[in-house]
């Protein structure tokens, strides 16, 4: 194997323009974090809502929840991304459609964030539903017997416990969202995967380019893991969840 190592490549100038590769990587990291965090916000909000709906005592609400989850879970993320990027703008009203296609600022970013957010929301919804259903039936019955309305039961009894129970699976979803954000390269968002490919093409330094992106992904996912673990510890109900101190 003859490979020409060049660890200085990060400080080298990009052939066109006066940026260094390091500047590229930093800005790419910024996009990766921005997309992941926006998508996570969408996924948590919608996922909690849809997941709760799926436990509601109403056939139609459950059906809507099921369609949502099955739809987003059974089509590959990359295909969904293309649908949002190429297909959805075609179906908007004429005026809006033209604006999205021509003038929309940071179109790649918003498309990727929405797509990834909705994709993950289905998975979050599944976890939240499982969390609510894992609670003893007696809790809901007791709450209703005490005169709480159904919304009150959810607000004060079921959801506070269910959200705590689902934190560990949500942690891995949070890490997944960071890993999945790499798919956004396909619509031209200049995030880590896109930039590492670009850097390979421009500099020819395969190892160094892939290593930088891989390490940064790992660091991001690990940080996400730490943040969620911290939240899990802070919100733990003493004596309820197994293994708690």
């Amino acid at each position: 194997m003859n490979y020409h190592w060049n660890w200085h490549v990060y400080l080298d100038q990009v052939s066109a323009g006066d940026e260094r590769y390091l500047d590229w990587i930093i800005s790419a990291l910024g996009w990766t974090i921005a997309v992941s965090m926006s998508a996570w916000l969408i996924a948590l909000t919608l996922g909690a809502l849809i997941g709760t709906l799926r436990t509601a005592p109403n056939r139609w609400l459950v059906a809507i929840g099921n369609v949502w989850v099955e739809g987003f879970r059974n089509v590959p993320l990359l295909v969904q991304l293309f649908l949002w990027f190429f297909v959805v703008p075609e179906f908007l009203p004429a005026e809006l459609s033209r604006w999205v296609k021509q003038d929309m600022p940071a179109k790649e970013f918003f498309t990727a964030a929405i797509c990834l957010g909705l994709f993950t929301s289905a998975r979050v919804a599944e976890q939240v539903r499982a969390g609510i259903q894992s609670l003893p039936r007696g809790q809901k019955m007791a709450s209703l017997a005490m005169g709480f309305t159904l919304p009150q039961t959810y607000r004060y009894v079921l959801l506070p416990m269910a959200f705590r129970i689902v934190i560990p699976p949500l942690t891995s979803e949070f890490m997944n969202i960071i890993k999945n954000s790499s798919v956004a390269f396909a619509i031209g968002l200049m995030e880590l995967t896109f930039i590492s490919r670009q850097m390979i093409e421009e500099s020819g330094q395969v190892f160094e380019s892939l290593l930088a992106a891989t390490l940064l992904y790992t660091i991001c996912a690990f940080s996400a893991n730490r943040v969620m673990t911290y939240i899990e510890k802070r919100t733990r109900v003493p004596g309820y969840i197994a293994g708690a101190k």
Partner: protein, 221 residues
């Protein structure tokens, strides 16, 4: 816009798309078979291998699971030629990558499966005079597979969806074939919708099958 959609382009494009679908399926099956085989070995290494072997298996599984699949695809695509000295086709590279990558995920499932078989059974196997491999092959693994079958299949559905990521190295799978057809006939919108429908039909069908299977296995147990 809906009125302007012209799905008639799908018919002439079908043979080409079919080839793409066949590659996606081939990739899925190869990665599933190879991944479950390697994954089982990795799981055994973690559970009953020596400290060095267990540490290697753990490191391998954790590394693969913490890196985006797209990155792994790029690593293999660019690295294998550096070692072999000859450029490798995107299709071949994808087959190797997915097998190696999925092995990490299957190994976690198999590990849970093996650990779901009670220790007494292994000991009973030893008491009957079986060697380690015999007790694994005859007593533990068949039960582990059976217990984990629904989870293994669910992972395979995810694997099938993930094969679309070979887009990054230009391998011609279902998605790529549909995209090329869309460009050739200048009807990309219809083709994207069509390919999404195909993926949905396959994945939804399979997931229904898994649910059915899960119920049957649950009753037997």
């Amino acid at each position: 816009m809906l009125g302007q959609l012209d799905f008639s382009v799908i018919a002439p494009g079908l043979p080409f798309i079919w080839e793409g679908l066949l590659f996606s399926l081939k990739l899925t099956v190869v990665a599933m078979v190879g991944g479950i085989f390697l994954g089982t070995l990795l799981a055994l290494a973690r559970i009953s291998g020596g400290p060095a072997l267990a540490a290697f298996a753990t490191a391998y599984v954790n590394t693969m699971r913490s890196i985006p699949l797209l990155m792994v695809i790029l690593w293999f695509f660019f690295l294998i030629p550096l070692f072999t000295g000859a450029p490798m086709g995107a299709e071949k590279s994808a087959l190797i990558t997915f097998t190696a990558f999925e092995a990490a995920y299957y190994s976690e499932i198999m590990r849970a499966g093996i650990q779901s078989v009670s220790k007494g059974q292994v000991n009973a196997g030893y008491a009957l005079g079986m060697t380690y491999w015999q007790s694994m092959k005859i007593v533990v693994l068949p039960q582990a597979f059976r217990n984990m079958l629904p989870v293994l299949l669910t992972q395979t559905i995810i694997l099938f969806q993930d094969t679309s990521l070979v887009y990054a190295i230009g391998a011609k799978d279902l998605l790529k074939a549909a995209e090329i057809t869309g460009k050739n006939y200048n009807r990309p919108i219809e083709m994207y919708l069509f390919v999404a429908l195909v993926y949905f039909a396959i994945c939804f069908g399979l997931s229904m099958l898994v649910k059915h299977l899960q119920k049957r296995i649950a009753i037997v147990r």
